[in-house]
């Protein structure tokens, strides 16, 4: 299927378009006075279109709100039919009221969950040649919007210090923690709630003591303890400027047959993709990491662009306030990769922010973009964040723009660097 056709289908299935098309079917056919038969058809179309979007996880609150109008029309017509057939108006009103109440409860539930989400984007290269595979944006979101219903809690440690604790129950989140040891072995952890504070048995003591990010998660639908350990081994002394290669192996240490994670991880690993974890749910100060192998930095150039003068440049640091955004422009070398790193700290303890990446690939302003990270709460102490972007994603781009968008509060960024170079 050509790209255009896929894009066209995607556009037609966009929830707003869906709402409009369904409205169209309902109104037009209602005008034709064949309500009974065609209403079923309209509802079917509606269910398929919205259901498809929900399945890939792009239906958010405002999209649901957009389909509310055709929904309301359909419900009203059905209520009319029920009243005529049953003759109990109060009963029908009660049913509609219950529907609204259930929706309201779900909405409140989602809101409560959203407020507690932990954000983490992780990507493990599945290719054995050291090249970080590309995950198309569609796959990116398809993975990201799955709702595995993992509950989690735990602490985030860095060099032995607790930098973040969290406790999230009944969240939508899937989770990646990263362990990186001096031996060059990296672990991505998923651990059950009852494993709080305990490291996997095979974790080297040197790792436990030195650098750890422990996340604990539990698959809600599973009665069994589930522990997932993703291990990434680096061949050679991989690191900046040394051109090492990354090998990845996936170790699922529990069967967790009821869980979503092994299934999808394996599925995507088989397809040659890395493993993106892109929650649409939101963070409380977490690590974002693209653990590809960083090549030598050849150049970087940062241009701070401010739209309204709200970005302030301090002594070696940048302060970004809510309702503003900061752009970092950088030229790219052909086929180069890119690493963005900075230390972020919330100046008022309540800041949140998004990090977006735009890659510009032609003179007409064509670009692709990727959501690198979203934090509901930036930590109160400097938190080092690294994003690495594969050259495949950047292919054809001659410059990139990083947008750092505070949500509320004030964020100070320090040691901001964009490194554009070669693998």
């Amino acid at each position: 299927m050509s790209l255009f056709v896929r894009k066209l289908l995607s556009f037609l299935f966009e929830p707003f378009a869906c709402a409009v098309v369904v409205s169209c079917v309902i109104l037009a056919l209602a005008g034709a006075r064949r309500l009974g038969r065609w209403m079923v058809f309209a509802l079917t179309v509606f269910a398929v279109m919205v259901g498809w979007r929900a399945m890939v996880g792009v239906v958010t609150t405002r999209y649901w709100a957009s389909v509310l109008i055709p929904c309301a029309i359909v419900v009203a017509l059905c209520a009319d039919w029920a009243v005529r057939r049953l003759g109990h108006r109060k009963l029908v009103c009660a049913i509609v009221g219950i529907i609204v109440a259930l929706n309201m409860a779900e909405s409140l539930h989602v809101n409560r969950r959203s407020a507690n989400f932990v954000d983490c984007i992780g990507m493990l290269p599945a290719a054995s040649d050291g090249r970080v595979p590309v995950v198309p944006a569609s796959e990116f979101y398809r993975i990201g919007f799955l709702r595995p219903d993992i509950a989690m809690s735990g602490v985030v440690r860095y060099d032995g210090n607790i930098i973040r604790d969290f406790s999230v129950r009944d969240s939508l989140l899937y989770f990646s923690g990263l362990l990186q040891g001096t031996s060059g072995v990296k672990y991505l952890l998923f651990q059950s709630r009852d494993g709080i504070g305990r490291c996997p048995a095979d974790l080297p003591a040197s790792l436990r003591d030195r650098l750890s990010l422990l996340y604990c998660g539990k698959i809600a639908n599973s009665s069994r303890r589930s522990l997932y350990l993703f291990r990434m081994e680096e061949a050679g002394n991989a690191g900046r400027g040394e051109g090492g290669k990354a090998l990845v192996s996936w170790d699922f240490e529990s069967d967790a047959a009821s869980g979503w994670l092994p299934e999808y991880a394996e599925k995507f690993a088989r397809r040659g993709y890395g493993f993106y974890l892109k929650p649409h749910v939101y963070p409380r100060g977490v690590y974002c990491y693209y653990p590809d192998v960083m090549g030598e930095s050849s150049s970087f150039n940062i241009e701070v662009v401010s739209g309204s003068g709200s970005v302030l440049a301090g002594a070696g640091s940048l302060v970004v306030e809510a309702f503003s955004r900061m752009y970092l422009m950088s030229p790219l070398l052909a086929n180069g990769n890119m690493t963005l790193s900075f230390d972020a700290v919330s100046m008022d303890g309540r800041a949140g922010m998004d990090v977006m990446l735009f890659g510009y690939y032609d003179d007409r302003g064509g670009f692709r973009y990727m959501h690198l990270g979203r934090w509901n709460r930036v930590p109160g102490k400097p938190f080092h964040c690294v994003y690495r972007v594969a050259p495949e994603w950047l292919r054809g781009c001659d410059k990139v723009r990083v947008a750092i968008i505070p949500e509320h509060g004030k964020i100070m960024l320090d040691n901001v660097k964009i490194c554009a170079g070669w693998l």
Binding site: L3, F4, K7, F11, E14, F16, A17, V20, V21, S23, C24, L27, A28, L29, A30, G31, A32, L35, T61, R62, A65, S66, L68, I69, A72, I73, V75, A76, L77, A79, D80, V83, V92, V96, V100, N103, E106, S107, L108, N111, G307, S308, A322, F323, S324, R325, G352, D354, Y360, R364, G365, G366, F367, R368, Y369, R374, I405, P406, E407, H408
Partner: protein
């Protein structure tokens, strides 16, 4: 009126309880701030800077907030909330009109539909946000309501109103251009089967719909951005389609 006022009340209540600004809204606040500070040139420059491929996707909502802030005198965020609160509350009116037409002789289904869109939590949630959806949905629903009126009354005036509201919906959110599809199909159903003697009225309805759509669109863009805005917005939409056809996101 009671439903609308009740809807406003519940939105105010929600706002008092959950006053966290919307994440997406922060971007629009930023745009309106720029508009207030630098005028039309600044918002055009900023739009092209932020979204080079299709900068003018939703100017109407920003424009309404820009107007309401009285040039930056009033707080932008709250002005946007007020705009959304009003538009999301009155969206029950066109929905009521539509169902009233579809189910003639009984007012109960229309009330059910109006109450649903007024008090549903999703509607309340976006009604207290800083997003462009409530404005777009209201104009979209109005356009559909007028198309249905056209279907039942066979009145070119309703077709013209459908075109006007469709243009406003399109300016509030670009994807709402598809409301024209609704209007066109509703009109098509109204004259099915098409006969020769009804052809002049069909042509009149279609012409009034399309003409008013284009005219409203041009007038509004001219009002917001001046003469240069029309070419810029046209170019933006053309680029949008070319980029879309090229597969870029």
């Amino acid at each position: 009126m009671a439903v609308v006022l009740g809807g406003v009340g519940i939105r105010v209540l929600r706002l008092l309880l959950l006053s966290m600004p919307s994440r997406d809204g922060s971007f629009y606040v930023f745009c309106v701030n720029a508009w207030n500070a630098g005028g039309t040139d600044e918002i055009m420059r900023l739009s092209q800077d932020l979204f080079p491929a299709f900068p003018f996707r939703s100017p109407l909502f920003l424009y309404l907030v820009h107007l309401l802030t009285c040039g930056g005198t009033l707080p932008v965020y709250w002005c946007g909330i007020v705009v959304n609160m009003i538009f999301s509350a009155v969206v029950a009116v066109p929905v009521f009109m539509i169902v009233r037409r579809l189910v003639p002789g009984r007012v109960f289904p229309a009330w059910v539909a109006a109450v649903l869109v007024e008090f549903h939590p999703f509607a309340v949630e976006i009604g207290t946000s800083f997003l462009r959806e409530p404005v777009a949905l209201f104009f979209c629903a109005m356009s559909m309501a007028m198309a249905v009126d056209q279907m039942y009354d066979d009145s070119p005036r309703c077709g013209a109103l459908a075109g006007i509201f469709g243009a406003l919906a399109c300016l509030a959110r670009f994807e709402m251009a598809e409301v024209l599809l609704v209007d066109a199909l509703v009109l098509a159903m109204a004259w099915r089967p098409l006969r020769l003697r009804t052809l002049p009225r069909v042509c009149l309805a279609v012409t009034s719909l399309a003409g008013c759509f284009v005219a409203t669109w041009c007038v509004m863009v001219f009002t917001m951005f001046g003469v240069s805005g029309i070419s810029a917005v046209m170019g933006s939409f053309a680029t949008y389609f070319s980029v879309f056809a090229g597969g870029a996101r």
